[in-house]
C-alpha cells in the first residue's frame, strides 16, 4: 500500500457555530480518483474545500481536526494557505474562467508563481492535457468567455494543471454541463489520474461509479431535539464495493435510489 496523499483525522467543520461536518476520518491515495457522494447539504463541498483551505475564505468557517498532506498538517500553525493551494488545485462547479484571453487564463497560475521557462510551451502542454488544444489553438488571444460551457470547464482544468499541482480537487465539475461535455470531462479525468490524485464531489452516482476508484458516502445526520443537521462519513471504500455490496443500510438505500 502506498503512502496516502491525504490523511484526514477527526475533521469537524462549522459555519458560524453551526456544525456542518462531524468527525470525518479517511485516507486519500495517490493516482486514484476518489469520489465523494451524498445527498444535498451533507457537507460534500465543505469537505473538499477543507483539502485546500478554501474554507478559509468563508467568513465564520471553523475547521478542527487534522488534514495531513504527505504527513504535514495543512491546518498547522506555520502553514501558509497560499502554499497549500499551489500544490492542491481546484476545479469549481460552475466554469469560472477569468475575463481574460484563453492564453492568459492558463498562464495566470505560472505567472503569479514566478514561472521561469517557456510559458508558451507550458500553456500548450496544459491545454493538450486538458484535451482543449485543438479547439482553441487558433484563438489563444480571444476571450475565454466566448467558449462554450464545456470548453470553459476544460479551460479551468488546464488552468489548474498549468501550476503542476499534486492533487486536483473537483467540486461537481460536470453538473453545469451537458452529457457530451460531461463524457469529455470524465475521459479527461481518466487521463489525468496517471499523474495526479483526483478528488471529485459529485451528485451523480453513475458518474461516481464510472470514474472513481474509491468512493466515500456522506450522509446528513439530524438531531431531533435541536433540529440541527450535519454531515457524517457513513462508508468509504473501493467504488465497486460501495455500489454492489455496501456494508451500511443507509449507503445501500442511497445507491439503490431509495432516497436522496
Amino acid at each position: 500500500m502506498t503512502e496516502p496523499v491525504f490523511s484526514v483525522n477527526h475533521l469537524n467543520v462549522s459555519y458560524g457555530g453551526n456544525l456542518a461536518l462531524k468527525d470525518v476520518c479517511l485516507d486519500i491515495h495517490p493516482r486514484e480518483i476518489t469520489a465523494i457522494i451524498g445527498p444535498s447539504g451533507c457537507g460534500k463541498s465543505t469537505f473538499i474545500r477543507c483539502l485546500n483551505r478554501m474554507n478559509d475564505l468563508v467568513p465564520g468557517a471553523q475547521v478542527e481536526g487534522q488534514v495531513m498532506y504527505h504527513g504535514e498538517d495543512i491546518y498547522g500553525a506555520d502553514i501558509d494557505p497560499v502554499t497549500v493551494r499551489r500544490r492542491i488545485g481546484m476545479v469549481f462547479q460552475r466554469p469560472n474562467p477569468f475575463p481574460k484571453s484563453i492564453y492568459d487564463n492558463v498562464a495566470f497560475g505560472p505567472r503569479i508563481n514566478g514561472f521561469k521557462g517557456d510559458l508558451d510551451e507550458l500553456v500548450e502542454r496544459s491545454l493538450r492535457r486538458a484535451a482543449l488544444w485543438d479547439e482553441v489553438k487558433n484563438k489563444m488571444r480571444k476571450s475565454a468567455l466566448a467558449l462554450s460551457g464545456g470548453q470553459q470547464q476544460r479551460l479551468c482544468i488546464a488552468r489548474a494543471i498549468a501550476v503542476e499541482p499534486d492533487v486536483i480537487l473537483m467540486d461537481e465539475p460536470a453538473s453545469a454541463l451537458d452529457p457530451i461535455a460531461t463524457v469529455r470531462i470524465e475521459d479527461l479525468m481518466q487521463e489525468l489520474k496517471q499523474e495526479y490524485s483526483i478528488v471529485i464531489v459529485t451528485h451523480n452516482m453513475q458518474q461516481a461509479a464510472r470514474v472513481s476508484d474509491k468512493t466515500a458516502f456522506l450522509y446528513t445526520e439530524v438531531d431531533e431535539e435541536s433540529m440541527s443537521r450535519w454531515g457524517i462519513l457513513v462508508e468509504y471504500g473501493p467504488t465497486g464495493g460501495i455500489f454492489t455490496k455496501p456494508l451500511d443500510k443507509r449507503t445501500e438505500d442511497y445507491v439503490s435510489g431509495r432516497f436522496g
Binding site: N52, M54, L57, V82, T83, R85, R86, R87, G89, M90, F92, R94, N96, P97, F98, P99, K100, S101, F108, G109, I112, N113, S143, A144, L145, A146, C156, R159, A160, V163
Partner: protein, 298 residues
C-alpha cells in the same frame, strides 16, 4: 376558476377574447405618460446642447483656441487659451492625486476593510463629501492654503481633488463589489495571494467600470467654478506657474465673459462653453476606448 375556464374553452373564447376597453385605455395612457416624461426630461439637455453648439460654433475660430483674451471685454478677438491651460493643469494634477488614492481606498473598503470601523468611517465621509456644496471645499482650501501661500494652480488642483476623491471612491467601490466571488476563488485556488488577486484579477475585471467613475469625476472637476474662484482666482494672461500666481480656467473664463454686458465677451463665453464640452467629450471617448482595449469584452 377551472369551471369558468372550461366554459370559455367550450365557447371558443379562451384566447380570442379581446382585452377590455378599460385595460386598453389604461395601457395607452400609461405609455403616453411615460413617453411624455422622457421627452420633458430630455428637452433641457437637448436645448443646452443646441444653444452651446449654435452660439459656440459661431464664435469659435483658430484665434480663440490659441490666444489669451484682450484686456477689455468690449474688444473682439482673442480667446481662452489661458483658461484651457489652467483647466488642463488643474484637472490633470487633481486627477493624478485623487484617482490613485480613491481607487486604493475603494480596494481597502471592498477587499480588506469590510464592515470595520475605519471602512465605515471612510464610507460615511465619502457620502457626506459628495453632498457638500463645492464652494465650501473652495473656502476650506482658501483658508488652509490660499491665505498663507496665495492663489495658484496647485490650490485649484487641491480643491478639485477633494471634490473628485469621494466620487472615485464610491464609484470604484461599487464596481469592485460587482466582481464575482467565483473568479476570485479561482485565483485563490491557483495559489494567488490576496494582493495578486486584487492586482491581477479584481482591478482588471472592474477596469471599464472604474474608468467610467473616474470620467464622471474628471467631468465634474472640469466644470467646477465656485471652488476655483476662491483658489485659482482667474487671470487674463497665460501662466503655467503652479503657485504664487492666479491662474485662469475655462469655467472661470466663461463665468467672467458671460456676466459682461458686451457682446464680444459673451461670444467668447459661448465658445469657451463649447470648448469645455468638446474636451470632456473627447476625454470620455478616449478613456472608453482605452478601457475596452485593455480588458476583454464579452
Amino acid at each position: 376558476m377551472s369551471g369558468a375556464r372550461a366554459m370559455d374553452a367550450r365557447d371558443g373564447h379562451l384566447l380570442s377574447e379581446r382585452p377590455s376597453r378599460r385595460r386598453l385605455w389604461t395601457d395607452r395612457i400609461a405609455t403616453g405618460a411615460m413617453a411624455a416624461a422622457v421627452i420633458i426630461a430630455l428637452l433641457p439637455v437637448v436645448l443646452i446642447f443646441y444653444y452651446i453648439i449654435r452660439e459656440g460654433l459661431a464664435a469659435m475660430n483658430w484665434e480663440f483656441l490659441t490666444q489669451a483674451p484682450p484686456f477689455s471685454y468690449r474688444r473682439e478677438g482673442g480667446g481662452y487659451v489661458n483658461g484651457l491651460i489652467g483647466t488642463l493643469m488643474m484637472v490633470g494634477i487633481a486627477t493624478v492625486i485623487s484617482v490613485p488614492l480613491g481607487i486604493l481606498a475603494a480596494v481597502y473598503l471592498v477587499e480588506y476593510g469590510g464592515r470595520n470601523l475605519l471602512a465605515s468611517l471612510i464610507r460615511f465621509f465619502s457620502d457626506v463629501m459628495t453632498g457638500v456644496p463645492s464652494v465650501f471645499v473652495g473656502l476650506f482650501v482658501y483658508t488652509a492654503f490660499v491665505v498663507p501661500y496665495g492663489f495658484g494652480a496647485l490650490m485649484g488642483a487641491a480643491a478639485l481633488s477633494i471634490i473628485m476623491m469621494p466620487i472615485v471612491v464610491r464609484s470604484t467601490e461599487e464596481m469592485l463589489k460587482l466582481v464575482p466571488q467565483e473568479i476570485k476563488n479561482a485565483s485563490y485556488a491557483l495559489g494567488a495571494a490576496k494582493w495578486q488577486t486584487v492586482l491581477r484579477i479584481v482591478l482588471p475585471s472592474a477596469l471599464p467600470g472604474i474608468t467610467t467613475g473616474v470620467l464622471l469625476a474628471v467631468a465634474r472637476a472640469a466644470g467646477e467654478t465656485a471652488p476655483l474662484i476662491l483658489t485659482a482666482l482667474g487671470s487674463l494672461t497665460i501662466t503655467t506657474a503652479l503657485v504664487g500666481e492666479p491662474i485662469s480656467a475655462l469655467p472661470l473664463a466663461i463665468f467672467d465673459g458671460a456676466r459682461t454686458p458686451f457682446a464680444a465677451g459673451q461670444a467668447r463665453a459661448w465658445a469657451g462653453a463649447f470648448e469645455l464640452l468638446a474636451i470632456v467629450l473627447v476625454f470620455t471617448l478616449l478613456a472608453r476606448v482605452a478601457a475596452s482595449r485593455s480588458s476583454i469584452s464579452r
